[in-house]
Amino acid sequence: MQTHPAFFWIWATLIATSVIRLDNSLFSIAAVLAVLAMVRIAPESTLRLNAFRLAVRLAIIAVFIRISVAILIGVPMPGKTLFSLPQLELPEFLVGIRLGGEVTSQRISGALNEALIFAALILLFGAANSLSTPTKILKVIPQRLYGVGVAAALATKLTPQFADSVSRIKQAQFLRGQPASGFRSWRRIGTPVLEETLSRSLDLASSLEARGYGIKRITTRYKAESWRGVETIALLPAIYVATLLPSLSISVLLVAIVLFLSALAPAVLR
């Protein structure tokens, strides 16, 4: 038996809600760890590792951008001054915004908290995406929502392929004697990758169309996806954290981490 594909999406949505609602760095870190554990123990056949790697990379970029913005731009914040940068003179109408200047501990910690939230959200949905396959999504979404179904199938199928295209085209640029990393290479890699992704989506959409997707109201299932009790039970802690848990003390946090790990139960009890 496999874990129901909707489980990952519901779990990710619940934890994402909690991460935003609780706005706590430790909790965000716990969420990230739980996601990594979930991906780690997923059987190889159901995991699309390339898609998850892409999410990890995106998360790292998000953290990097948020921190660098916090260092360069921002309003003055109290706290201990860590170091200071030369400050740029700005015209008067930009009151309250400054470039450079003193970087305080509070400014950094605030930014770090936000960055962790970004990273947790990206990883949560990245993991849900790489753990569920396009068909399974198609079957969970009613056929009458034709556009939504096609879009979901395209997104879930094309993210891992997108990662493959990027590495293939990077290689082609290397063969042309061009640097395959750094800012300048992005234009060289971006255009062909986007073109290829576009033509692949058209191919997949036409295949769905030719195979009668969205025509009949009544569809059948070859292998029914089953939602078992263990999945419901595994979601309970996540539901509790997302809705009821008022605020976090360290002990509650520990409980939360343990409960998070319960999300691994459906995979382990497979």
Binding site: S45, T133, P134, T135, L138, K139, Q143, A153, K157, R168, I169, Q171, A172, Q173, F174, L175, R176, G177, Q178, P179, R187, R188, T191, P192, E195, R200, D203, L204, A205, S206, S207, L208, E209, A210, R211, G212, Y213, G214, I215, K216, R217, I218, T219, T220, R221, Y222, K223
Partner: protein, 532 residues
Amino acid sequence: MIEFKNVSLIYPNSEQTIIENLSFKLDEGEFVLVIGQTGIGKSSILRLMNGLVPHHTGGILSGEIEVAGRSTRLLRPGELADLVGVVPQNPANGFVCEIVEDEIAFTMETLGIPVEVMRKRIEEVLDLLALAPLRTRNIATLSGGEQQRVAIAAALVTQPRVLLLDEPTSALDPIAAEEVLSILHRLVNDLGLTVIIAEHRLERVIQFVDRILLIKGSGDVQLGETREILLSSPIAPPLVELARVTGFEELPLTIREFRRSAIDIPNLKRSEHSPSGETLIEILGLNCSYKDANSNYALRDISLEIKSGEIVALMGRNGAGKSTLLKSLVGLAPVVSGEVKVLGKDPRTFDSTELIGAIGYVPQEPGDLLIETTVGDECKQADIDNRVTPGRTYEILTGLVGAIPQSIHPRELSEGQKLALALSVLLSANPRAIVLDEPTRGFDYEAKRKLVGMLKQIASQDRAILLATHDVELVAELAERVLFIADGELISDDSTATSLTASPAFAPQVAKALPEKGVLTVSDVRRAIEGH
């Protein structure tokens, strides 16, 4: 079964009509081959038959198309899914599921076929296409031929009356192609299925088909018996060309028919192939690993040498290690032990200038190398990248394929022109060796002829060429030496004449038709007859 009545098709924002006033009729249970030059609208005609054109692609259609009495103009493609099965040009892009049996079940699920019926039909189709051992495998891990069979199974399982296939063998090695085509042949005979197939490599299909639809121009088509069409068709497989040269009473479609005509020619004396150039590529005891540790080596104990002026073909089945060997030449293969030397140096130590000056590597998708939106810009960018005088790259391109307008988008080029553009971009850096990975996918005979000329010209400029390919006819025309690789090992390294006649699966049609005469191609036969 399928009837086109005065069909015209034009895409918006385009002045060129794709199809003009086309009328023809195909009968039930026929195996029909659609031929024509690249870009002449073969795919469009196929896709008109299940309504993907114009419902999915856009375009303005006039006239009427009926499939089993249903109009594709009025119905959406999905409403024809029970009647018409489609195997797209690149099946990997059309797969929706990850597991073989799920993929086969998908269309039946969308059509709402009851589960009991579904199970029975899946078992049947798995047996029919010999897919039963693969049923729980992940599709991405299958070989090209296996994927093609999965795509055919997925199309057949709804029990359609028409099956459309767009170039089903273009990515397959000769053995896998043979397998797929004989399955189709059996389906036509056993199930009375109407099969319409578009294919460039006629030598692989003509023996199976009943009729040919030859597209000469947008409104100019000829539909007739295979022999009747091939008698005068400008597009013909080597066997037919051979019969035209040697004379014939009835046009042969199979090797057997040709041999029975008992045509004899004098033996061709081949000059010994003895390369004299300097050694450009040297491989000694090369072992390469797969990325995961528990499988076998991808390459085992490979040693070889390639000199300038040589054109060498690398052949073998899908997954034998051809690509890994090519990649080792640019330092991208996971080398475990052994030596690779290009111009006397390990390619892994090359900097980017040394790399492009040593090897021009055309990947499987030559389009990957191209980044600009017009041919002119692409050439200018290559001039800058390779630090050559402005206009040099375009000059090389013109030398290879004649003038191409600078303002068009590389995507609008034919496959052959696109490859020429990619080659020019690499050649402007003046590399000593050119490496090509499977260059003739989607090429028609004309494009292949041009490629042969192009590569011979490049090799004559004191360069070495190494190409991996499945196309035996191309190898017969082009290469002097063939490397065979099987399961990671180099099993033969010999002259083309010796290598290609050693095994029937990899022998060109002419060699099979006239064995032991030392001929591989139609031009060889001409030379033998003229007595040179």
